[in-house]
């Protein structure tokens, strides 16, 4: 046996908070230059596992293991001082969302310099030079200026790169990356993953943590699937993705929308009431467009710009037009800042366009005053990325629905008990949910409640603005399946906004690709995805992760 000593060897790691075990019997090995991905949903214990590997499981935690070797050191029972000499020096940790993971009050350069200073690396001038070198190494332009900026002044991708620079400042033998790309746009995420792959190629061992199998497929050598604190399956990336054994792994893979045809189920078929009530036809029964009925929602040459203090007006949307047919889905895809949400707000009549017009069922919508729109508002509903912030925190789920059903006249759930029960069952929620506060519901349940609320006035068009972006893949699958079922059952038209191409492809009949406020490409979904014309669409497609091994 001439194999190099592993950089990380964990045997039967257990972590508990008080009496509650969070991680059970986890065993992992990472060799130099190897990338192990730890995949599981929120609450499965992956982050706690990662943190206990650097002695930061958190206050009130108990960590025990049969073996815990980090960079050749037996880390069981290490003193805090000994841990500090390992952290940042031999192990680098990269967290999700660099906006909150870098101190917003300190300059980027200072944060990176800390890692060097704490481990006694060189004089002040030497460290300053190294900081600039690191910022250039992670691919930031103008590194000298970046070092003097605050994290709030950088874009999401640049922040994540800066955070990576601070974690790899001392060439740690092991890099732990906890959801490093989750908050990022697809092209940015792809670039960050490439950067991480480069570190691995340079000889660092890597532990990559994600809730999404398709994210890790590109870089991981080995995948460990974690569920409820335990590792349920470990294997090479090819084996896990190509021939999953454990039912949970299979469910996770099935939940990934990439490559699944329209209306194909993503979540295991549970007998949700909507599904039972409406046996699915192959496609929407209406054949719109030919029947001569007007589009449900149409926009012509929409433009809107915003004032920026001390600068020229910022054009958020430029000359955007679309037609959404009844019972169909129009997907709007683009990265953050491409004008998707501004378009949605104009379609909802919440924001007046500077130029152009919106028509709802052939009648003027954006051009008429709100007093005339109000009576027609019930036909147009909306759901958003973060449903919780759209619920009044003092209201129970039942009150939320009563409020929507009565158009704000009452919040007494008893006045609409029948319809509330109906709506809850329509979105697959138990009737008892009516009495609960939305804050106590899970992310998926909250989004179901938001959908129920949007359905309360019997709308015919639903505007969905990133409805699944904050959800785990398997929950996302359930919500997407629900939206599919509702569309077939109620004949709803969706304006479906997402930054995720695989979600858009799975959900849409036609697609609009937006970039910097403009539509760069549009057409029916299959032709846009199989034969993209615009270079930007091709770049987006190339960056989009798919659950196929990358190497």
């Amino acid at each position: 046996m001439n194999a190099p000593a592993p950089i990380l060897r964990v045997e039967n790691l257990g972590v508990s908070f008080g009496e509650t075990p969070v991680v059970l019997d986890v065993s992992l090995t990472v060799d130099p230059g190897e990338c192990l991905a730890l995949v599981g949903e929120s609450g499965s214990g992956k982050s706690v596992t990662a943190r206990s590997l650097i002695g930061l499981a958190g206050p009130g935690s108990t960590v025990r293991a049969d073996a815990l070797e980090v960079a050749g050191v037996d880390a069981r029972g290490l003193s805090q001082r000994a841990w500090r000499s390992i952290r940042g020096n031999k192990v680098g940790l990269i967290l999700q969302d660099a906006l909150t993971s870098l101190d917003p009050l300190r300059r980027i350069g200072k944060e990176i310099d800390d890692a060097l200073r704490l481990h006694g690396s060189g004089s002040g001038a030497a460290r300053a030079a190294r900081v600039v070198e690191l910022l250039a190494a992670v691919g930031l332009d103008d590194p000298v200026r970046r070092a003097s900026q605050l994290s709030g002044e950088l874009s999401g991708g640049m922040r994540q790169r800066a955070l990576i620079a601070s974690a790899i400042a001392l060439d740690p033998a092991l890099v732990i990356a906890d959801e490093p790309t989750t908050a990022l746009d697809a092209t940015v995420a792809a670039a960050v993953l490439d950067l991480l792959a480069g570190l691995r190629a340079a000889g660092s061992g890597m532990l990559l943590i994600s809730h999404d199998l398709s994210t890790v497929a590109k870089v991981a050598d080995t995948i460990a699937v974690m569920q409820a604190g335990r590792i349920v399956e470990t294997g090479s990336t090819e084996a896990i993705l190509g021939d999953p054994q454990h039912p949970y792994t299979k469910a996770l893979l099935a939940a990934v929308p990439a490559g699944k045809p329209r209306f194909a189920r993503l979540s295991p078929a549970t007998a949700s009431p909507a599904a039972v009530a409406a046996p699915a036809p192959e496609a929407p029964s209406a054949a719109p467009g030919e029947s001569g009925q007007p589009p449900a929602l149409s926009a012509r040459s929409l433009s809107r710009s915003f004032k920026v203090p001390g600068a020229a007006d910022f054009p958020a949307v430029k000359d955007v037009g679309f037609e959404l047919l009844p019972g169909r889905t129009l997907g709007v895809v683009g990265e953050s800042g491409s004008g998707k949400t501004t378009t949605a707000r104009m379609a909802l009549g919440l924001l007046a366009p500077d130029a152009g017009s919106v028509h709802l069922f052939g009648e003027p919508w954006s051009a008429v005053p709100e007093a005339q729109r109000r009576t027609r508002r019930p036909s147009l509903g909306a759901i958003y990325q973060d449903p919780l912030s759209s619920f009044d925190p003092r209201h129970s789920a039942g009150q939320v629905l009563a409020d929507a059903l009565s158009f704000g006249a009452t919040r007494n759930p008893r006045k609409h008990a029948g319809r509330i029960a109906e709506l809850l069952s329509l979105v697959g929620l138990a009737p008892e949910v009516a009495a609960r506060n939305p804050a106590t519901l899970s992310g998926g349940q909250r989004q179901r409640l938001a959908i129920a609320r949007a359905l309360a006035p019997n709308p015919r068009v639903l505007i969905c603005d990133e409805p699944v972006s904050a959800l785990d893949v398997s929950i996302q699958a359930q919500v997407l399946d629900l939206l599919d079922e509702l569309q077939r059952r109620l004949g709803l038209a969706y304006l479906f906004i997402s930054h995720d191409l695989s979600v858009i492809r799975h959900m849409s009949d036609a697609v609009l690709v937006m970039r910097a406020g403009e539509v760069v490409e549009s057409g029916d979904t299959e032709s846009v995805f199989t034969a993209p014309q615009h270079p930007y669409t091709r770049a987006l497609l190339a960056a989009s992760p798919a659950p196929t091994p990358g190497r």
Partner: protein
Amino acid sequence: MHPRTLAGGRSARIAGTAARWVLGKIGGGLFVLWAVATAIFFGIRMIPGDPAEAIMGGPGSQASAEALAQARADYGLDEPLYVQYFGQLWRLATGDLGTSYSLKLPVAEVLGELVPPTLVLAVLALAVAWALALVVAVLSTRSGRLGTALASGLEIVSAAVPHFWLASVLIMLFATALGWLPPVSTNSPAGLVLPVATLALPLAGFLGQVMRDTLDAAHRSPFALSARARGESETGVLLRHSLRHAALPGIALSGWAFGSLLSGAVVVESIFARPGLGRSLLSAVTARDIPMVTGVALLSAAAYVVIMAFSDLAERLADPRMGGS
């Protein structure tokens, strides 16, 4: 754009921003002083009674009608209201605060003697409150749930205690019962302890609550975890990260706190028989000494304006996101 012109434009823009900021503060301050002078001028005339009587030594002085008329003429009180108002504004604008009715001395001279003791009291109280609040906040984040609960309870109680009650209790305890400190405040250091404590304790409770919450949140934030993962010690996290976050709301509140200290000084200076602005304001109002009341009010307003500008500046220096540096 050429990098050099970019940098040059940037520093010029910063200088321009700073000049605008200073001009804005001065303009705002002048507006506040005018508003205070006007409010005082009209407000004090709504109090029933004749100012001439106050000049002659109060209603008990039995001054003759001729003497009162003479006093009115001397002090311009027989002129139309608008003439008095604009005359008053003009005198204030030229720095003439008038002569105190009751003390028969120039108001500026009287204030010159009263300001230093009150300033010493307020500044010391603010400093002590900050120190107490920080110490309690830091200790409580390090001592777990029990320590946090204890600190929070202490803070709520001390923030809720009124000055007059706290002063009486402190006097009974440390002056009457233990005899450690004098019950009457002089300018000796020992005489300052009880008045400063009376003003500082409630403020410390208030500041402590805000700062401890922020300190806790910063300590548990992802950037603190990142810092620990870089090898930072708990002390390092505190000094380099969380303390700065905790100081921000404290700084923002300090301008307001200084104003509340000035009004607290009215009570404390009276109870401890300590010379100062607060106590003189009380006696000036009682004696209907219009020039004195106007002088004290304007001075307090000016002090408040200056302190607010300083706290704004301090906030900008401590929080780089506000573009202060």
